[in-house]
């Protein structure tokens, strides 16, 4: 269930679009922010809230890569491995991260703290290699910078 604050936000959002279907993405974002990921139950809830078929919501959630259909760790490390990052050592960076955390790409550490995901270009080519941690960009990465960052994650 959405918090009262989110329900209020929803009413505000409704004024922006002529159809309720257009609220699909904004509402799914709200759901992900509140619950951390989008479970099948959340999909049902959103579908009921917007009077849309669950199939539509499922279709949208699975189409967009940023909606997590599985729970992720407290720190979601999304490493860009596309061209510009690749040219500046993203492959090594990914190996280093996996080695340090003892998990493979797509996995979460047993303490549920870190999840590593490989993502496509994040528009940070001038500060490559980089990764997105939850909402923030961590750029110009080196092994030392990664180690320092991981140590600071509480």
């Amino acid at each position: 269930m959405f918090t009262q604050e989110n329900l209020k936000k929803l009413e505000e959002l409704k004024k922006r679009y002529p159809t309720t279907k257009a609220l699909t993405l904004p509402v799914l974002w709200m759901a992900q922010e509140q619950f951390g990921w989008i479970s099948p139950d959340t999909m049902k809830y959103v579908a009921e809230l917007l009077s849309l078929p669950v199939g539509h919501i499922y279709g949208v959630v699975t189409f967009y890569t940023m909606f997590n259909t599985k729970p992720v760790g407290k720190y979601h490390l999304q490493v860009c491995t596309n061209v510009s990052c690749q040219l500046r050592g993203a492959e090594h960076l990914t190996d280093h991260l996996c080695h340090r955390l003892g998990v493979a790409i797509g996995e979460t550490t047993t303490d549920k703290k870190f999840t590593i995901t490989e993502v496509e270009c994040l528009g940070s080519c001038g500060t490559a290699p980089m990764m997105q941690v939850n909402d923030d960009y961590v750029e110009n990465l080196t092994d030392e910078k990664v180690d320092k960052f991981l140590a600071e994650c509480k």
Binding site: P18, V60, M66, V83, Q86, L87, E120, C125, G126, D136
Partner: protein, 432 residues
């Protein structure tokens, strides 16, 4: 030589509305609201401004496609999906000069009689969404957006619509579907957005950088604007340079600047003075250039077309002589495979096949027949899909095979040594 900087001038704190106002901020909007909407469109037409999203379509002409009289509401979508690998320019506008973009959008809305603007920003840009929202709130508070702007009686609203991670949503019709709450599937054209766009209403889609150029045109006049850079594509461009250079980043320079000038004078050259093996001039979907070819190449639509590639989003990617460029091509192809929306068979299946073949070469399992097969698949994707993603996947492969065939030859599967004929023992005895 001083180059004019309009989009990203060196003014500290320009993202703050007071600072922006001190530097002629929102004066172009005031000027536009004093003009007839059609005169604004004419001004943009005469300036010869071309879209900055990659297709280089004349902006004024696009605006003139919008019906003057419409019983349905009209919409403007500002495209800030910015997902083409090697492109990172719009985020600079959101961060350093968001009001320029907002001002341009409101002018565009006035020129076309639009009451609602949706700014589509990619979901990963959470930080920039916050920054832009802050600027929008300020602009609302100063009545540069909203109702009765500058007492002119003109009203328009501006909303951010956040994407959720899909390259394809940068394609204009997919972007509209995404705003409507659907999967980002491109639509078959015609009908074009100016007739049947968002919710079936007349819609114009412009890139963020394109809209940021509008106040510049009104401030300096179309004549002065049309004299900057290359005559057929005037103005300044935000060149994003990445890969093997000493100072990667976004540089605002006139169109038609020399590619080597950007690499060596602005981006500080290649680390350890290595030679350049290959250059992608306008984002991952543009055709590759060999290192030997770049001398004298100018960065504008026509000059790049003449050397068989395109300006795209002006995202220049440099690869030095030690780069395993086949691996780079494989990564790019993987990107298109991953981002294909899955509507059209040639793109959905073809991109996967191309990636598989390229991976065979990486593993040393490819054969020379595979090169022809790869080219055949690329040729059959190009032009056979609803949107340009298929073409974007095919072009790098086609140009790579044309220019770097040797890379494949170097890695083909070595034929096993010919087996010597060893006669069976009973034959040996007979021969003896």
């Amino acid at each position: 030589m001083t180059t004019p900087k309009f989009i990203l001038p060196d003014i500290p704190d320009l993202h703050r509305i007071e600072v922006y106002e001190q530097h002629h901020g929102y004066q172009a909007l005031r000027k536009a609201l004093g003009m007839k909407p059609n005169d604004v469109i004419e001004e943009v037409k005469k300036s010869n401004l071309r879209g900055r999203g990659g297709a280089c379509f004349p902006t004024g002409l696009k605006w003139s496609f919008m019906p003057k009289q419409s019983t349905k509401p009209k919409y403007l979508c500002a495209n800030g999906d910015e997902s083409e690998p090697g492109t990172f320019k719009d985020r600079q506008i959101f961060e350093f000069n968001p009001h320029l973009f907002i001002e341009g959008s409101v002018i565009a809305a006035y020129a076309m009689g639009i009451k609602a603007i949706y700014v589509y920003v990619r979901g990963e840009y959470a930080k920039w969404v916050t920054m832009l929202q802050h600027a929008i709130d300020d602009a609302y508070a100063h009545n540069y957006i909203g109702s009765n702007i500058f007492g002119s009686g003109f009203n328009t609203e501006l909303y951010i619509h956040k994407g959720a991670g899909a390259y394809i949503c940068g394609e204009e019709s997919a972007l509209m579907n995404s705003i409507e709450g659907d999967r980002g599937y491109p639509r078959v054209k015609p009908p074009f957005p100016a007739q049947y766009g968002l919710w079936g209403c007349p819609t114009t889609i412009n890139n963020i950088e394109t809209l940021a150029n509008i106040p510049v045109i009104l401030n300096i006049g179309w004549e002065a604007f049309s004299k900057i850079g290359a005559p057929k594509q005037p103005g300044t461009l935000l060149y994003g340079i990445s890969g093997h250079v000493n100072k990667p980043g976004v540089y605002e320079l006139p169109t038609g600047v020399l590619l080597t000038d950007i690499i060596y004078n602005y981006a500080g050259g290649v680390p350890s003075n290595k030679k350049i093996k290959a250059v992608i001039p306008g984002g991952s979907s543009t055709m590759w250039l060999k290192g030997e070819e770049i001398d004298g190449v100018k960065m504008d639509a026509d000059s790049l077309k003449a050397v068989g590639t395109s300006i795209g989003t002006a995202g220049v990617i440099i690869m030095d002589e030690d780069t395993d460029i086949l691996k780079v091509l494989t990564r790019i192809t993987h990107f298109y495979y991953h981002e294909s929306c899955g509507q059209c068979t040639p793109c959905r299946e073809g991109c996967g096949w191309m990636e598989k073949i390229l991976k065979r070469f990486i593993a040393g399992e490819g054969t020379m027949q595979d090169v022809d097969l790869l080219l055949d698949i690329a040729n059959n994707i190009e032009g056979n899909t609803i949107c340009a993603l298929g073409d974007a996947a095919a072009w790098p492969i086609q140009s790579f095979i044309k220019k770097f065939r040797g890379e494949f030859e170097r890695r083909v599967k070595k034929a096993p040594p010919e087996k010597k004929y060893v006669p069976p023992p009973h034959l040996v005895t007979l021969q003896a």
